[in-house]
Assembly symmetry: C2
């Protein structure tokens, strides 16, 4: 029987991932907080990944599959250096050590699948037009460095046979439901989500900015597909760029216009913000993800599809004309 | 006044590096053991890098330059998983944290130069004919993964302004003085050193094997040159492939023949060892090191020069005809 542990299960992707399992499957979630309306029969374990005993509790029923989504986000890791390294790598190391202990204690019988969410932040400029599967990981942020270290650690634990697994490097997830946040990337979702909810949205960069997107539904799809890979097919290092859609802000806006009309698009206001413009310049714009596509991972092929998924999965109100 | 700390100062390179400073310069060495005949006026601190208080002692007089050479070697890191990760990355992290504490305590006044010895083991096959400066780090050993993590950590500490520095990826150091060791690469030195000392040497691979070498004298040169770089010139990520010499075993042997004669070469015996053949297949063979050369790093251009350096710097007896 499938038993699944989602570390970071209280977050947006964690909740959607939990909901993707049937009631007959055993799903546990570990996180510091859970939203009140969390829609899941999952067992909820309240605690931090930095608390070894909480991780031990979460692992006590030896889950077959573990999704490790917990992370201090990019902006916070940059602002709070110690917290970023503590949560993003030292806690992950301690988690992997517990997996290894269980593997050795069971004489190799316990060998779970670990799917770790890495990020395209492991890459640093200068970039080619399309980033290939063997592009150098040279991060320019603490968050990117931490994710790259975790990839190296996971890869070594897999190589030594303590677990199976994969680190998947997610595109920017768009359209994120809920409220805008302080992430520099927040506007990529905001310029779609806010207008569809009848609210004004701020666009801090020019419309020719190109970026790499996938929907929350695709993110859950990546995680579920990764869980069911045939591990002997994986001959590359265990970190993989996920498919996505490369498009410009202008293409995002035109997709919104064709789905929701001119009046909705008029809610987007252009207010250039030099700080955000500078940050966004250092971000990857496009990828070729040959290995992932060959392994059967897939994402949206038009931004219109990404908007429709937001409307189907998350839009609560009914503002479309 | 220059004050220098060499962490791992009891090793072969550490000793040669210590001897490269004049008596008027303050040099401290931290290591678990020091050879009895160590030729240096340096202050010796006996202790492990895994002992936080010993590292604190070593840092107490705030050295301007710190060379971090301490490491569990490749074979041992592969055989003893926990020890490799503990010594090779957790101790390095703890060391960097102490540097950051001192930097913050001094309000940025204390900002030492940290030169870390990484390795070409950060690279994994498949390789191009020549590995470029922006080739992917995809290690296939625990040692390589640990070195790659340390590079990412050091880079982030440098980016945040807690220190200056560089990780330098050393070629295989050849000819190593002293006795053969259990490293799979030991024969690259052994087939030169043993015959020059009148002893039989074992060659476990075929003579067309190509590898990447630099002398111990070059290694010390890299470290001293790195110490004096102009940090504002460094715009790449802070890990850099060092120059070296790519040559085949046959070229090594022919260089030995032209320097020491046929009788000496006859002491080399070919005994193919499948295990070593397999390991060596996964090793880098050649590099272009454009950035390092542009920054003024240099190494030998012929294997004859590498042999002559061994004879000048290390050969004790006098067996050359």
């Amino acid at each position: 029987m499938t038993s699944v542990l989602i570390i970071g299960g209280g977050g947006m992707i964690g909740q959607k991932l939990a909901s993707s399992y049937t009631e007959s499957e055993t799903v546990s979630l570990l996180d510091m907080a859970f939203p009140e309306n969390i829609n899941s029969n999952a067992k909820k374990i309240l605690g931090s990944v930095t608390d070894t005993s909480m991780v031990e509790t979460a692992l006590s029923d030896l889950p077959n599959t573990i999704f490790y989504l917990a992370s201090v986000v990019s902006g916070e890791a940059e602002a709070n250096f110690s917290k970023g390294w503590d949560v993003n790598i030292h806690a992950f190391w301690s988690f992997l050590s517990q997996i290894r202990d269980q593997n050795l204690k069971s004489e190799g019988q316990y060998k779970p699948i670990i799917i770790f969410t890495s990020s395209i932040a492991v890459f640093g400029s200068p970039f080619p037009n399309k980033i290939s599967d063997d592009f150098l990981t040279a991060p320019r942020t603490s968050y990117g460095a931490q994710k790259a270290c975790c990839e190296l650690m996971l890869n070594d634990f897999i190589r030594k046979g303590f677990c199976e697994g994969l680190a998947i490097r997610l595109p920017t997830i768009c359209v994120r439901p809920g409220k805008p946040n302080l992430a520099a990337s927040s506007f990529f979702s905001g310029i779609i989500r806010e207008p569809l909810n009848g609210l004004k949205a701020n666009l801090p960069v020019s419309t020719d900015v190109r970026h790499w997107h996938a929907s929350p539904r695709s993110a859950v799809g990546f995680l579920r597909h990764a869980e069911n890979l045939c591990w002997s097919d994986i001959t590359f290092n265990s970190a993989l760029n996920m498919p996505g859609l490369s498009c410009t802000v202008e293409e995002q806006i035109e997709a919104l216009r064709s789905i929701a009309g001119n009046q909705v698009v008029k809610l987007i206001e252009q207010n250039p913000d030099e700080k955000i413009i500078e940050i966004v310049k250092g971000w990857p714009r496009n990828f070729e993800t040959k290995i992932a596509l060959d392994l059967g991972f897939s994402a949206e092929s038009s931004f219109g599809d990404i908007i429709k998924i937001y409307i189907e999965d998350d839009l609560q109100s009914n503002v479309i004309n």
